[in-house]
């Protein structure tokens, strides 16, 4: 069994309305030193596989087929660890 942690963020230059909204809210709370906020997703997947390489390949396919929108998002596998 393997546990993967995947980071999915907007590509540079893509507008992040949620990030802008959070930035405004933080300013209203008095955190005026905040210059920019970007919000992405963190996906943790538990997957049974024979080898780490097979697990990683499946994870990449999942990102490309479903998890990340290739037009506006990019993904990065932050970690892939074997668990009991």
């Amino acid at each position: 069994m393997y546990k993967a942690k995947i980071q999915i963020t907007f590509k540079n230059g893509v507008l992040d309305p949620q990030g802008s909204a959070v930035k405004q809210a933080l300013h209203h709370l008095g955190f005026v030193s905040v210059k920019d906020v970007r919000i992405g997703r963190l996906v943790e997947i538990l997957i049974s596989s024979q080898t780490p390489l097979d697990a990683e390949n499946q994870i990449k396919q999942m990102c490309e087929q479903l998890l990340a929108n290739p037009v506006i998002e990019e993904y990065r596998v932050l970690s892939l660890e074997e668990i009991e």
Copy 2:
């Protein structure tokens, strides 16, 4: 100027409907070896501050006041780096 990367995830035991929906979708795509999916948020904040300690304190306050719902979520500051 400092850049913080914050991970916000559901506490253990809290139902993750989005994660369950993604797991089902992955199974439909043929990724039947997926056992569990948990989805969290990744917040990147750019903040101007005199010291790293001050930046970290402000980041923690932002998490506790706005970014993370203390009832069902937990946060972790993954990184805090000075940038030009």
